[in-house]
């Protein structure tokens, strides 16, 4: 049953960039910041990670560079939308295009280079367990980090004072402001966190999935991450499930083809997107449900004087 285990490992690897980027975006959105620039932050993170790895040979530096680059992009977004109060949708779209263009420009010297494969952790003894050993105890560090981050975000948002404040700001920034919380500062924090995680998601592509740099290598994953946040109705654990479901559909369609199962490849390629649309339709079916799940101040600029 090596094949099943291998398929499950592929699914986790396919899903992890989405888990990382979407978790970051989820935090930003819960604080009321709609950043559509995930794709741009991811691709910059992918390049930063790869370039740093080539220059320093250090995976730690590469990962830090990716989070730093993603956060810098997010800081730019924060400056434009939080300080200058530009429209968040327009600024996010611009951020994506800016990131794609900038990474193509700066990445020119890196596109023919090759990096070593990303090491996998091995938990002594456990990794040799039959069936689940390789699956659970022989993955790369970033994959474990992504799971830990989902747990941490779920805990902080639902169970801590910090999470309560963030959610309050996302639901009603005037009320939060009135009781003395610095709305802009918290939103900056959430936006930067989102950017850092998007950068990390990009790093997962250029360090783990395919250790190389290619222009536009995110290939739309930033948009899928954005859709996943809605898909998950802004809940971290559901988001994890959604990302793994998405990864599963992607990988299973490849395997079913190699096994010779007769389903049209085009239909299979469409499936993940179809699932997203169906879930979007289901959760937006009635007004109440959307109201209850989406942060009420999502995408709205905050004027302290109001």
């Amino acid at each position: 049953m090596d094949l099943v285990s291998n398929i499950l490992i592929s699914i986790m690897i396919a899903a992890t960039p989405l888990v990382l980027a979407a978790t970051g975006e989820l935090v930003a959105e819960r604080a009321g910041v709609l950043n559509l620039g995930v794709e741009g932050m991811m691709v910059i993170g992918a390049l930063a990670a790869f370039a740093a790895l080539i220059k320093t040979d250090s995976l730690v530096v590469a990962v830090l560079a990716a989070t730093g680059a993603g956060a810098s992009m997010a800081a730019l977004f924060g400056l434009i939308t939080l300080n200058l109060r530009a429209n968040q949708v327009a600024a996010g779209l611009a951020l994506t295009m800016f990131g794609l263009g900038l990474s193509a420009l700066w990445g020119q010297g890196y596109s023919g280079l090759s990096a070593p494969p990303f090491p996998r952790l091995e938990f002594a003894g456990l990794a040799d367990l039959p069936w689940i050993g390789k699956l659970l105890f022989h993955q790369d560090a970033l994959l474990y980090l992504s799971l830990a981050l989902v747990a941490a975000v779920a805990f902080v948002l639902e169970r801590t004072r910090l999470g309560l404040i963030l959610r309050a700001i996302g639901e009603n920034h005037h009320a939060a402001h009135a009781i003395g919380h610095p709305v802009i500062a918290y939103r900056y924090g959430a936006t930067l966190f989102g950017g850092a995680l998007a950068g990390l998601g990009g790093a997962y592509l250029s360090l783990v999935q395919t250790p190389l740099w290619a222009e536009r290598m995110t290939a739309g994953r930033g948009w899928i991450a954005l859709a996943l946040v809605v898909f998950a109705a802004w809940r971290p654990w559901r988001l994890l499930g959604g990302a793994y479901l998405f990864g599963a559909v992607t990988i299973l369609q490849l395997h079913s083809q190699a096994l010779g199962i007769k389903i049209d490849a085009q239909v299979l390629s469409m499936l993940p997107y179809l699932v997203t649309v169906v879930v979007l339709v289901i959760i937006s079916r009635d007004k109440m449900r959307v109201k209850l799940t989406a942060p009420a101040c999502l995408g709205k600029p905050f004027h302290a004087a109001a």
Binding site: I13, A14, E215, M217, L226, A258, K287, V290, G299
Partner: protein, 362 residues
Amino acid sequence: MQVAKRLSALLALLLAAVLTGAGVSAQTPSKPKISFVYVGPIGDHGWSYQHHKGLEAIKQEFGDKITTSYVENVPEGPDAERVIDQLAATGSSLIFTTSFGFMNPTIKVAARHPNVKFEHATGFKQAPNVATYNARFYEGRHVIGLIAGKMTKTNTIGYIGSFPIPEVVMGINAAYLAAKSQNPNVKFKVVWVSTWFDPGKEAAAAKALVDQGADILMQHTDSPAAMKYAEEKGVMAFGQASDMAPFGPKAQLTAIVDDWNPYYLRRVKALLDGSWQTGDVWDGIAQGTVVLAPWSAKIPADVVKLAEAARDNIAKGALHPFTGPIKRQDGSLWLKDGEKASDKDLLAMNFYVEGLEGALPK
């Protein structure tokens, strides 16, 4: 409400991407402008990269007699028409549209701009001002098929396909027939990824194929991701479009390299001396458009000999990769004993040959 907002935002993005996708450079009216339209990024190290090398060669050869411009990442479909039209309307004399999906847009735009000349790669529709050009990649596929048939230990070859168009189907059939001629037990597993360029998905497809027993990978997609994966896993692979040895120094057996430069230089020269005419050119190994990268040291001497003999015989015209008897997958006869496939048949190929498993997507 929020959801509706989000969806409209996504739509806005699509529009914005469409509007900014084409950065067209300013022209100097006195010199003929040569323009290129690419489907992928010029940094893909595959298909678009090789066409862009052609543009560089044109610049070097003709220097300040011409100006050049290019638009990369142009999606196949309605958007392509707008990009090509824009290039035609802003002073281009000769426009190369370098992907199969640009065929109908090119023909449409050409009808509106009778004074501009167009060249469409890999298509089959011509007009007085639209020439087509293609390369006989299937000749290269024949050679790598021979090598794969000889070298596979698991008798399983993994093939990553992009879209089931004749060009790609022809390649699968050519490689399979050649592999089968050397190894009657060989099996091909074909995975369609429905994209020309998505390194993550191509790598996932490569992994799926290796997980299912393939020890040699072939690809008809544009990124080096599968080669990179083969290198990591210690399996073998063939490079596509460009020499991918930097990504798989141990994994690459050889690569089918597209060298468009001779054709591009010829056509620009024809434009400049006024002899440009429409036409349909399909060059191959003989003309140097299809080139095989240096053999890997892993290939045993007798297999190298076999591959070189096939390559040289194809160049001489003594060997046609599609020579009968060949049956279709459903068992019906396609080519009689000794019959060679016509170019027309090849360019319309929409079936697997006998022995291939799985259904060809429609």
